[in-house]
Symmetry: D2
Subunit: 334 residues, 4 copies
């Protein structure tokens, strides 16, 4: 029996989400006209302490794509990190959704970048029709290396965005884990810090197949049309809304993220000086030789190699301390 | 309490599908590497008596879009009926998926058209670079008016397609209902009749949010990439595969379709001379005055107006004869 | 020696345009920074009695594409005639330029349609995200059958457009011929009648390869970017601007159009009851049997068949009355 | 009077090209059915010693876009240099033409890169549907820093391309200058070295507005359609073909390039140790302080700053040694 730490996508669906699917299982109106879908804006408005437009969709890739298409036009670009999911793991989805828009890649440690990186890049771009002009910034929170953005960091980026007329998107596939780590309020890390749109992830955190694209304020023109046009307006949408509502109910999303983070912390503590990045969410990146990786795998642990001599381990909501203790011990014993 | 006959999208999910979701709810590999997804090709190969490539996706719109993109290029067109779902109900999805491809609209009774209509249209198109050249035909089975294509009809269309170098796509959102009506084998209505790709619908027939795009034979270049790129490669794909497998298990898809068709037949029999089309699937189109429609609605029945003086009623897998008997009586009593 | 009446594209370039190319042939700044390009807005502003943004481009197809992309978004549609050039003769260019936008086809005699046709079509479209929503109307002046729009007709269409929140585009590949026929002022037929963008054609009227896309007022966001992005921002743009300025100089565009129209009138008069449409520009559509067509061709006249039993003859700026007199006589003699 | 060295786009059109336009100025068939266009394949086949498909188009941007669209699909990428024209100077045109394709950026001195850079990048790309897979390599000859590719260098790149299943495109906006410098045969630098498509530039070398996209062998599916669809099939195409034929006649293209190169060599010799790159075509990149740049400009020379402390000077076919001698002297005197 393999203990899977290769991705939080491997985790099961939380029982409360399963229960919500069962509860939603009677006839209702189609698409997003049902009662569950109609409650989403209010429920997420409570979480974010402001009026929001919430669109369920099946995947983070589609949430990101619709968000970026709403914030840019096809002849423009989005500034993002070189290792951002939208750049390296979505098969070019942003270009499909935006109509040929470009990702303009920035560098920075831990898959984060700061306002200085943005300004340095902007300074290189001639303001003419020959060069693709940026229209938005996209940051990932937690980052692809499991680093959480503090509210003040996002606010600094929001200031840079506003100063240069750029919109700000946050890919929050692991937003819950970041919030659970920093303790910042969802509002402070998003719209109060200048974020225009958030891809709020639930699938990695106990959901089945419902993510939520959130626009702070009104729905931008075309976002609902693009959800339909890209095949993401599901006819039985109530089953997506029900998942999200279940995750929000009693702050299950935070409880799940805390559990996942705690499990990662245990592994991280065991990794000690092997750690490549501090553990601020549910991902652990550590130095691991080929022999050590083989040893751990032989012991029944499944994870990703991360280039030569390194590995990524990801925990999820269902990992109890007791589940990860053997892994932590095995790492310590290397 | 309203009895919903406005769409089969309103229906609940079948208990066996719900059970399959519960069964699939433990950790597994992500995307389509899991055991359920890996069994799809074989399971559908059994249904169609040939080797197939089966891609789960959340919606019929995305299945259609990926199929058409695989069969055409952006500078080409797809011949389809003027009232086809891809033309009137997908917000232009085929153009997004194909990269600007065009739908070239044909006419015919009951949202069906025949080879003569195809040939007549082809004769109007100059073979030069100024005019968009057709590359595929798309038919809907059952049609938008609930008419089932017989195997011989599809084969005749397949002959026309081959003769003119066109691919043939079947939008089978209600494929199950058509098969349940005609009794033809799935193979005879599809690949043996020249169909290259089938969007096999399950959501209207008891599923939750899993449809299946089927290519007969190998997967065309780009189809998997486009599924990913359009945000339709779900990370917990096992929950889509599990739905489809549950629908295939013991031919639940056929049993559900037969139940829905039977309910529609009862309503159709009551409608008598009001019927606009024969009932060959789970949809009933009938003449209904504004006053009569209001009367039925006051009695608790929910349905779509279909232009002036007509209405559409749709049944689903969960409608027992006893459920539709009062509606049938109410229609008779008009 | 063949006398070519198959298209005004066959005509030579006017000597004054050739002279302007020679005049422009010294070193200057690139793209549209040169003196000729910089004079375009003012020169066309004089013609249209208002402030305009004028973008040269090589073809009517690109002018139309950039115009429609500026007035719509990819998930929207453009209402146009079923026989409009953008629908039947541009290989789907509007879909490429707009990012998958759709043409929604209307009918009407002589490739014109009226406000009633627009309103009837709009009434059929549900206002939801499932159906593609129109954002613009495109009319062709002179129409594909050589019919000129009167200022009042355009104004009526403009009223309908405004009432329904639609933009109005005019494909003016033969705008000069229409103006020459009606005697209306360019302003009255365009912006005063509600036209937002005009593709003003010069190539068929004595130019070599310069058309002019005119926006009445400011340049819409993205139009210049799309001209560049579609490969239409020529580096030696001065040679396009110079052509247009030469055509405007001394109203050469009107003189050329009058000459072409006069030649068409002579042919039309000869055609008499054979005429399928009144001659209001430089095109003559007439009934012509296969034998008659063969007879004319044997006599050295080149033209298009127009379906069975009909033909199209097109005159151009260089046709003197004496050039068409033999053809007119030949038609009379049939 | 300013002496323009900012771009070869500033140069006038060669008298023989002007004469060819005059010669072509009588009525003929439209698009590319005329005699000039019909002679292109043979004329360029002579230059390249093989059968070619030659498509005229107005700009290098459109030639590149059509070429890349023919060699890749929208979900794929093109490996090119970070400073390639297609990346930094075409407003994202490749994404428009290819339907959302991506440019994957490589580094290397002088805007060239070698097979090792390609292989290193390929090694970083996981072979799955999550990451965009490269389908082609694009190199620029002469490069954006005026460096000419030797036949052996291209052949080495062609070997890498073939070994990895990639197509090879050459952006030859200054192909003539490169050939004039290396003395290699056009065949050796292109198809014999594995190049599939060449954007052969004429506009910077004495043409007005005709470039030539060359496919070695048959025309790939869709290339002609995309030329039309992007608005680049000009109706009076004979005026583009005539330009190209005039440039080929008597090897005017080589004579012009030699003249431009010679002028650049004179400036380069004067620049001496200021040179940032060897002069292998018609561009000179040199170190120049702000004060020195101001001094040269005050003396009547126009050129581009190239970042801080550097400048680009470009010569063209019309620069006689006597024209550049004063500039060379001024640089020496700095």
């Amino acid at each position: 029996m393999v203990a899977r730490f290769f991705s939080d996508n491997a985790a099961p669906v939380h029982p409360q989400v399963m229960a919500a699917l069962a509860d939603a299982n009677h006839a209702d109106t189609a698409y997003d006209g049902d009662g569950w879908s109609q409650r989403l804006d209010a429920a997420l408005g409570d979480v974010f302490e402001t009026r929001v437009t919430a669109l369920w969709t099946a995947t983070g890739t589609s949430a990101n794509g619709i968000a970026l298409a709403a914030l840019t036009r096809g002849w423009q670009s989005v500034l993002c990190h070189r290792e951002a999911h939208i750049e390296v793991d979505e098969c070019g989805a942003p270009a499909l959704f935006t109509g040929g828009g470009k990702l303009d890649l920035l560098d920075g440690p831990g898959a984060k970048f700061d306002g200085a990186a943005v300004k340095a890049r902007l300074a290189q771009i001639r303001k003419d029709v020959h060069q693709v002009q940026p229209a938005a910034i996209s940051i990932t929170n937690a980052s692809e290396y499991g680093l959480a953005w503090r509210a003040a960091e996002v606010a600094a980026m929001g200031d840079v965005a506003r100063a240069h007329g750029l919109a700000l998107h946050m890919d929050g596939a692991r937003f819950a884990n970041a919030i659970a780590f920093t303790g910042d309020s969802p509002a402070d890390v998003t719209w109060r810090a200048g974020v225009d749109a958030l891809s709020f992830g639930f699938v990695k955190n106990g959901g089945m197949n419902a993510e939520c694209l959130i626009f702070f304020g009104d729905c931008p023109p075309g976002a609902r049309e693009l959800r339909k046009r890209s095949g993401h307006l599901q006819s039985k949408g109530r089953f997506l809304a029900a998942q999200i509502l279940a995750m929000l109910d009693g702050d299950l999303w935070l409880a799940n993220a805390r559990a996942a983070n705690a499990a990662a912390m245990l592994i991280g503590a065991a990794a000690g000086s092997r750690l490549l990045y501090p553990v601020e969410a549910n991902e652990v990146f550590l130095r691991l030789s080929t022999a050590e990786a083989a040893h751990l795998r032989a012991a029944g642990y499944d994870f990703y190699d991360w280039g030569a001599g390194a590995a990524r381990l990801v925990t999820a909501w269902h990992h109890l301390p007791g589940d990860v203790a053997p892994l932590a011990a095995a790492i310590r014993a290397l």
